[in-house]
Symmetry: C2
Subunit: 480 residues, 2 copies
Amino acid sequence: MNTLDTQKTQDSLQGSLQQVLALLHRHRLVENLVHKQDMPKHTLVESLVHKQNLRALQKKLDQLHTADVAYILESLPLEDRLVVWELVKAERDGDILLEVSDAVRESLIEVMDTHELVAAAEQLDADELADLAPDLPQQVVYEVMDGLDSKEREQLQSALSYTEDQVGSLMDFELVKIRADVTLEVVLRYLRRFEELPDHTDKIFVVDEDNRVQGVLPLKTLLVSDPDALVEVVMARDVVVFHPEDDSGDAAQAFERYDLITAPVVNADNQLIGRLTVDEMVDVIREESDSEVLSMAGLKEEEDLFASVWDSVKNRWAWLAINLVTAFVASRVIGVFEGAIEQLVALAALMPIVAGIGGNSGNQTTTMIVRALALGQLQTSSAMRLWRKELGVSMVNGLVWGGIIGLIASLLYGSASLGLVMTAAMTLNLMLAATIGVMIPMLMVRAGRDPAMGSSVMITACTDSGGFFIFLGLATLFLL
Amino acid sequence: MNTLDTQKTQDSLQGSLQQVLALLHRHRLVENLVHKQDMPKHTLVESLVHKQNLRALQKKLDQLHTADVAYILESLPLEDRLVVWELVKAERDGDILLEVSDAVRESLIEVMDTHELVAAAEQLDADELADLAPDLPQQVVYEVMDGLDSKEREQLQSALSYTEDQVGSLMDFELVKIRADVTLEVVLRYLRRFEELPDHTDKIFVVDEDNRVQGVLPLKTLLVSDPDALVEVVMARDVVVFHPEDDSGDAAQAFERYDLITAPVVNADNQLIGRLTVDEMVDVIREESDSEVLSMAGLKEEEDLFASVWDSVKNRWAWLAINLVTAFVASRVIGVFEGAIEQLVALAALMPIVAGIGGNSGNQTTTMIVRALALGQLQTSSAMRLWRKELGVSMVNGLVWGGIIGLIASLLYGSASLGLVMTAAMTLNLMLAATIGVMIPMLMVRAGRDPAMGSSVMITACTDSGGFFIFLGLATLFLL
């Protein structure tokens, strides 16, 4: 028996990667030898060793699952990645390009010529081709389209007409459909005529003569029911269906909520045009949370770990620039109070504490609210109630932590009034943070924008400038 | 026909929530009337209206899917939530408790007595009970255990013996298994004897006489193959199996990688003891990314949006405290240079820019690396290569952005040397950020810890203190 358990899977995946690395290493050593010593008599031997290594590597790669080859390509620096990519059997190119991350895909497509790309793309189904098309040169897409039959071309064009975050771009066209007025026995016989059923098939779609969805026949029902029963008697009529214009994030949430494996996609007339599968939805969930994490850290998109310095700079510059502008504004706020700082230099040392705690606390508030909004659990009508609560939290934190820091500051600088100003400023800045932290995501949603994007930067901007202003302002009023 | 499309699902879910809110609102109005006017003759009428509203609400709730009731409970403030919870049919209590978030579950369990809890828990399967058990009072768990038969008790104890992040705590025990030496016809007849098949069944497990996994028979194979064929001929022998001790995150990644719907869980002797289903794995993926987002924002755990001020303070205090300590250290670094600031007060205004850009850039680096580590794509041996690249990125950014800010600073304060110091300090702090940003997650992994947890705080601490030190230090050396 050939069981493949995760422990083994994880080990063998890491093991495979190590083997690939070792073979690549040997390959490089030989290559260097060839380059360094230009003695002709050695060349033959070395090129043999060279070929042997590559052949061993190729054999290893042929044994691996497509997803695992994709993983290895993602884990390799560019030069090694391209050596491995050369060795992958051409007929797997298409599937592997679908599996790798966007950044790695770009690096692989760059080194393929039109002919290779067309060959790779031709192996794919219309819906897979649609996923790949945006990354392919126009020329390749045209050539592949020419080779499609009219039905496939229509499917491809339909898939391409939807944006990445619409259900239409994620559906596939592998439909098994039956009529309601036949017996299960007939269905069983009909299914037996298939070479194989589409991946993930857990239900068969029941349609009428106009291809309109009537219900679904889950395989589990088909298998436990009397073969003489009619489909219309045993089928489920309560079907969760999707439209191609639906938001893919909403669809993924529906898959999660109702524990779906596959679901029909219908047009406005309720006619079956495609289906969604859980594996695509899992990818949506993964991507959504990824982009949340990435945008919070100020990265435009997933970055190839081994990208060039220049590519990385391009990916990261936008948020750094925004950060610099807001930092500059905060700096000008301090500039206004330079007179106060000259008189009492302790202010310069204490002001970052006030600003920092405000940013931290405001980000906590916003994270909570952005997540509740994303899950649809928060009505804008609850904003007031939430704001009052967050103000309460910030007052408690301000009095407790602000009190402690105020006490330390007053002992350190021997001035009770400085300590009091510190406590007051921290409390006020925390309250500002709570207000901004509730307000910004709510306003973003009202304006129809993604509440996560950039909210962290905006909050930090407000709590920095606000914190410096409150602290230095209070100090000017009460200490000088 | 009764199709339930997402558009309708989303609308009807929001609509249901609105209806519930409207009914609750009316209910409150009547209640207030009763309390305010203590006129006995009105009481009867009002209590009738009161009852009518609640009955309408109850009817509405009865029509909703369990997952949708859970969603509504999560969206309501505490008092309304408890009114709705009272109205939910007792036989659905168990399933709904499983669906709601941890924080909301706690608030619901708090208001239930032992008797109600036992009744709710008794409706659940052993694996579901195991999920709920940690939140239930000991007394309830004991009472429920007494009511179980020995097989169920064994399953419950087995599930409870694994930690939350192990496969053993996520598996269920709804197994359909067959022998390899029978024909598909026999299998089809055997399946027809079931009332219904377990949810998500996409394959049947093939075991030998000692319950050891031999292979799996996918339903799609069963349905397209000749009924006279033997199971052992058509079954798949290449099975991804899991062990109860496996990490659930790894299992979820394997589900994603190999597009699994269900998979067998086996013990060390390869004996079948349970199964994993994709819906549990989707929850794992969702929870992992949630906890990444939450911990980056300094929240200990998912918070009930309508939690009390006190609960929120408890959830958030830890990271605020850490943040305060690091801010205090940075403040002391500035304190050392108070003399320099007194001589050149512009330093106080410029120093937050140097610190801020370092923190932002360092967080970008770390986010990249933490994510690559989590996906297993980064070997610690690549650390040097990555560090060199990140240094390159930070030098480009430092010279470009540092140059611009340096130019502005020198114009603003009429001092070219101040501008040069600013540029140099920004470049150096960005390089420090790159170094720390690569080092911290790598060291965390070497120490066997979660690289995401707290790395953002540590980096900000280093770039704040480091930034202040570098800038004020350079200024002291070259400007004073």
